[in-house]
Amino acid sequence: MSSATELAAAAGSTDPRVGLRAVLALRRLLDRLERVQVDNARRQGWSWQEIADALEVSKQGVHKKHAGRPAVNGTREE
């Protein structure tokens, strides 16, 4: 069996434990990637509205999630 087939099999695993654990790990990774990228966008002067548009979420949502956090190596205007 090729490794691609093995991966495909795992991705579609019918064992909920395997599948759900992958979802959890992916969410953790996603949260952190989002933080890194939002911080980067803010450092480059993007507005919350621009970030929200890029993420296809509401400005309120993205602001609430990210504005309270101390910006990493960056300025904090708002």
Binding site: A8, V18, A25, L26, R28, L29, L33, V36
Partner: protein, 196 residues
Amino acid sequence: MFERFTRRARAVVVQARDEADRLHQPRVGTEHLLLALLHDGQSLAATVLRDAGVRIDDLRSRVEQATGPGSRALDDADAAALREIGIDLAAVVARVEESFGPGALDDPPPAPRRWPWGRRYDGSRFSPRAKKVLELALREAVRLRHNHIGTEHILLGLLREGNGLAAVTLTRAGLDLVDLRRRVLDAVRTAARPAA
């Protein structure tokens, strides 16, 4: 809750924070409580762990390995789960760190908060599991009808919690948590008995 902690047990809580600092980790987890328990070699908990064959340098390197750079944010289990769906976490981390510097994906340090009772115990830094362990320590003391909470109760709490990185690390080091628990209870009983 901390009024009933012995001087040694309080020192463990403070030391746990230092252990987290040492490993550059924003959160104080069960693994830092475990390292802190071993730090004071004279404590009942440290004695039991030592007698069971635990070596602090071995345990420390295991904890560092489990929480080392690049895997601080996401642990081995996450990496394995991502591998299952064809994502190479190490490759993702490497790419992000290339652009944004080492540790870019790590959890950010928690925002500083003011605590009305001073800054000795910064509860906000303790992970939910580590807080649970301290709660369980209290419960173990109550169950044993002890008026104080000592290092032995913190260790019992760690063992009872059972799922934190402390418990995982102990298990990986070849220790049996049930056996350890029995050893602690034996030591408590021996310590309580008046010298023959």
